[in-house]
């Protein structure tokens, strides 16, 4: 290709870049969706684990309280360790639930932005690529240039 056709070459380069960009952005979007799914699953697993620990701790605390109620006055039963464990489990569970709520809210907000962009990517960008090919074709026709792949 001679220098006089450098503009056509540049347009072909732009077209190829747009195609790569469309595929690349699709991959980015898919990886983003995967990451949202993975984090939600991880948080749900952790919430489930802490829920189980909380239930177990509550049962142990209740058992301790029963023993304390039946214990003679001269040998009291100390249940404060069980109470602390229950409180810690409850705090951890609530912390995870707050993150879950925040992620739900932010993922929902992100969904609006992502939806608009992906709509452009799937519906607008192919039209832009076609328009560019038509421009390249008209330039080549005007110069009687035969170019492969255009």
């Amino acid at each position: 290709m001679t220098a006089v056709h450098a503009d056509i070459d540049a347009l072909k380069g732009l077209h190829a870049a747009l195609v790569r960009y469309r595929h690349g952005q699709r991959d980015v979007a898919a990886r983003g969706e995967d990451q949202i799914r993975l984090t939600r699953a991880a948080l749900e697993t952790r919430a489930s684990q802490w829920r189980s620990r909380l239930e177990l701790g509550q049962a142990e605390f209740a058992g301790c309280q029963d023993r304390a109620a039946q214990a003679p006055p001269d040998s009291p039963v100390d249940c404060s360790g069980y109470a602390r464990a229950v409180e810690q489990s409850r705090e951890r569970l609530e912390q995870i639930q707050r993150w879950q709520q925040r992620i739900d809210a932010e993922a929902s907000e992100f969904g609006g932005t992502a939806g608009r962009f992906l709509d452009l990517l799937e519906n607008e960008l192919p039209g832009i690529e076609r328009q560019l090919l038509a421009i390249i074709g008209s330039l080549e026709a005007a110069r009687r240039v035969r170019a492969p792949g255009a």
Partner: protein, 49 residues
Amino acid sequence: MAAEHWRDGQARQFGDGRLAPLLQESRGYLEALRRLMDTLEAAERDTEG
């Protein structure tokens, strides 16, 4: 002639009318994605253990 027409009219129309909105939306999308990824990372870190 075709090249001049492209440079003078079509290029501007193509760049401003078609590419610029796409790139603007793309920047907004990538920035929103980065913020969300930061939140996901912080959530994973903060709820470990």
